[in-house]
Symmetry: D2
Subunit: 376 residues, 4 copies
């Protein structure tokens, strides 16, 4: 590399807080450039702001539009080895066109046509699936077929071999969440192809996966199971349990008892690793929130970024100075230190009488592990 | 205290490894006594054996006999403030007549007549109840009524107020496990009386306790529940879950998969704190084991002591050089470093076709926390 | 075992809270005895007191007396294989003549004559040595000779082979602390003899042990040292460091800064495992306290028991309703939940001008690990 | 935002693994763009490589050049509020001219002229200073003046107020390490100005900082100090300790004992938090390595990135296919999964006879906390 192709470009400008532009300063900056150096004093405002100035922007994606484009992709884009998945990622408008919904998180709609297979592979990126509608696809994780149904949350920690198959006559869509941007920034990724075809034994769809039979009993640890690999060994958190837990919290509150609700009319559960109660994946937190119709949540903000998907109901969401009416399937992003509040209310075309159910995932475990978590 | 009432008594004897008995030695020993001193060299064999010489002995109590005596006590011994509980403790024959089943553990049969109340109190001793037969009693823990039914495991960490009520027309018996001997040795105990009567709202018997509605959903943490008190916040581990988990393990094994079983034909679950997967109580481990008919478990030994109760089925138990045929309800103790093996087999009067289900509790968390755990 | 030799003896008495004595009750108690059962209602006052009623009593041992008796033992009791150590243990007057200073702790004066060897062995009991006077003995732990000098604290976690040698022409005394009573109650002990003689290479007395060269640099971890055995890998905490740390705390306080002192005029350091900052041994906490002349410490009490030895200075100690004037070497015990306060003051024959330095050890890690710790 | 200014740009190309370019595909891609979507199949090779393809490149900066440019900056660029520090950062040639030495780490030379002050501020970014030459500057952290001398490592966890002052008649240079890029990517940063001038009491240079007097005694914890803020409370790790620890390791190895060395001729210590033995800062690991002259280290690679500075001696460094001769002060970067080996040898102008001492820092705690650590 010579002076002329150094990637460093410094512009001496007369500005408050900057040194006076002189020929000596200009010469100094040329010296910096040729040695691949950048002074702090030209960059400090960007690098060390008074509080987070998130690069990601608040944004809303309509499920209806995602669904249509994914369906169209289902018709004309094949799925198979190389492309690996028919997954279409949300690209935050503040992140330069990269398929990153936040600086750390990936969110995509994945779409599988009847009879299709998404081939087996594994990667260090931690992942999960969440099903807002439909059913019939199963994911085979480490040889264990896991059925996917509306409301189910299906984590899959890094380096587990996995494949998908649509065993029905209908296409199916769901969302994928991964820590692709985080691992991309960290240069931490490994990837391997798996087998090209699943065995016959894996092409069945049991009601419960083996992981659920082993780990899905409340408070009961299988003594002989000794895995200590990162991430939850439980591969499916079924909607019937999630729904019941939320209903119980709200009922307990109504009966006048300590209930685990976050605030009146706002129940929530976190998906956790049954081995130790920690977050379900080392880099991602996932939760389901229920906001009773008519309730408006207290505005809160925290470091780290989140993605929300409306699972059921409708309402109005405010993120900093953005306000959106949202309904089933809509996805929105809450950047670091942005203020979020949610109001649960009927929409014009909302015939259901129920609450606003919000699925959310975030990078909170990263912030907590690195002692960077702040809340207000 | 004068020389004459010192509790120390030293006897100089001519024995291998002991100093030669001389007038000087005798005088020295008198000096030791008057200063409340004891030399190591007279005690080392007892205090520092090559391996544990447990003071507790292997022993079996027959449920039939316990049940009869408890029933008789139900007739003639009232329950109420002062005595607090109609609990009758197993006194290990090696522990000098004290009501200690092992040096750290208390095990008792508790008996409550129709309509009776055991008054509210609390203590630092950690406790649980396990129900081998009957139903109809509920325990109110911190104001939360918890129904008790056959097969249920009901932990109750120290310092929670609790009372019992028998709401039926039948007497009911169950076993209590506590760490009374441990806390007695450690001089760690606190105790307080609670209210003399429960409120009307506490005199109902809901199907599920509030604790189960809050904490009993697999892998789901109620985000707003922030208790960090010691011991599980889940107050009931229901038989239906335990039974299903054991069945699942054995089925998975039969299907050829990693199953969590301890060995072929031997499934087991541990009752854990859903907040962090640790033992359900800080000083006691509790587990349910299922041994398939015809299976004999591998002999094992470990430091620390355990108590077992036959929940169902029948078989033959070997603890060191003791062998007992056991059937429903029978209790036996496995002292520290004693070797245990179990064979599941039909008994003469055993009409059921099933497995041998063994409930067990131990002081393993103490040994693990203090790094004193050894296994062979 | 027949009815006649059951260890259980129950006496039906007419007393408040006890069932009325009737022939039926007496018969019931005979039944209990023959089945090795003890009811809670006759025992609850003893087992479940309102607060700890420690079995150990506050007591003081004078170093002068211990020293004289140990010296006398040095003359007439040989040290060698079998007896293993010329250690003379403090027997708390409340503990029935057993060589237990508290229910969990052992404290002994050990004495080694010029040229004597205490043979190599190992045991699961955790141990330490503390030197109140003299020098010249070294302890070989796992082949590493560790010099012992006044003020040094020398931990030695369970299952490390160790021996002592007095390389000087003077006898030497020090105190040993172990968790013998705890492991005795728990039936957790293992013991093995080591070699009968040390190698020549082990018969030198380096200024610093190998453990200090590896682990004795503040905040610096040797990357290639990977031991995870229980207890500190650092085998000597030298007085020069302890003294300086205490001096620094008091100076910082005098200069007006946050200083780590516990209260004005009362500095203290805890001996910790440099790998993780935890207590130096899994079952024992050890600390050095310095109380400036004229200072009286705030009375405090906590669950768990402690032993103190005056390392330097003199003063007045109050434990519950016992008050003692103490001077160098004196040892006293603080039972569970007993209130302790210390006043540092000159004694009649105290020529030094300095503070009262108190070495102390306790079973606090046991209480903390088991969540039984309370403080007032 | 309209279709025309979407940041997403997708180009349909005929390539292996990509869908055939058709008008329908092009239309689909236009739809993706307008909805801010990006398919996985066009990005997977970049986002999910078989192993890390680090964006950072191996690179070497010569201390001589850094020193000269910093000195020149000392003459013409003032230091004060706004620019805050005369720090000049190493810009990795693979990171687009940003002042990031790796994707997570910042490394800069900081330069302070005689009598200059760098004003007080604080920020969430974790930081340290390491001194390769000179002395005379002290850093005031939370009011505690910390002298800086050759070989000292001075950590400073996030959110501590700090300022620098050069109290001598000579300029002084040192290196700063921070996690600026990591916190920039995560949008986690907070920043506050402190006071504009230090108090007189802070303008002294004690031999030892208060932090060292409180926390710098090996294995001794000040009991009354209760801070649990992230990062080490010890603000200076002095060269005399580091040097001695390394010397001891090599001596122990030479004497034939377990020594903590990583491999023959290669000693190393990690700077740790004395409270718990964890890494000195939550996001950065720092170590000092000593490679004996003539030794070549085993090639190793790991996920995560490191920066090295030659503290003393000289040698030859190989990072993947780059090889550099290095001498005192030179800095080089080892990207994620790049292979590093070092040979210690005399250079032409190297008059010292000693070993190659390498200071290094990395983002290893991030990788370990997130379970992304791999090593080969």
């Amino acid at each position: 590399m010579t002076d002329t192709d150094t990637p460093v470009r410094l512009h001496a400008v007369d500005a408050p807080g900057q040194p006076v532009v002189t020929p000596e300063l200009t010469e100094l900056y040329r010296g910096f450039e040729s040695e691949l150096l950048v002074p702090l004093w030209t960059e400090i405002g960007d690098l060390m702001p008074a509080h987070p100035h998130p690069t990601a922007l608040p944004h809303l994606w309509r499920w209806k539009n995602l669904r249509e484009l994914a369906s169209r992709a289902g018709e004309i884009v094949p799925v198979g080895r190389g492309g690996e998945r028919r997954a279409i990622a949300l690209a935050n408008p503040g992140l330069g066109g990269r398929p990153f919904v936040t600086p750390t998180l990936w969110a995509a709609i994945q779409y599988l046509m009847p009879g299709e297979d998404a081939p087996e592979h594994r990667h260090t990126q931690h992942a999960f699936r969440f099903v807002v509608e439909g059913e019939g696809v199963w994911t085979v994780v480490g040889g264990d077929p896991v059925a996917m149904r509306r409301g189910d949350f299906l984590p899959q920690a890094g380096w587990n071999l996995h494949a998908h198959h649509n065993a029905t006559r209908e296409p199916m869509a769901w969302i994928d969440g991964l820590d692709i941007p985080l691992q991309y920034q960290l240069n931490a990724q490994f990837f391997e192809f798996g087998r090209d075809a699943l065995s016959e034994g894996e092409r069945t769809t049991p009601e419960r996966s083996r992981s659920e039979r082993l780990w899905g009993h409340p408070g009961l640890r299988p003594i002989g199971a000794t895995s200590s690999a990162p991430g939850s060994p439980l591969l499916a958190y079924r909607w019937e349990h999630t729904d019941r837990a939320l209903t119980d919290q709200l009922d307990l509150y109504a009966e006048g008892f300590a209930s685990g609700t976050i605030e009146p009319g706002h129940a929530a559960v976190r998906f956790t690793d049954p081995r130790d109660g920690s977050d379900v994946l080392p880099t991602m937190r996932a939760e389901m929130h229920r906001v009773v119709r008519g309730t408006e949540t207290e505005p809160t903000r925290q470091t780290g970024s989140s993605v929300y998907q409306v699972f059921d109901g409708s309402g109005v969401v405010t993120v900093d100075d953005h306000t959106w009416s949202v309904t089933r399937g809509d996805l929105f992003v809450v950047p670091s230190w942005s203020t979020l509040s949610v109001r649960s209310e009927a929409s014009a075309d909302d015939s259901d009488s129920g609450a606003l159910d919000l699925f959310t995932f975030s990078d909170a475990p990263v912030f907590e592990a690195l002692r960077l978590h702040r809340k207000a």
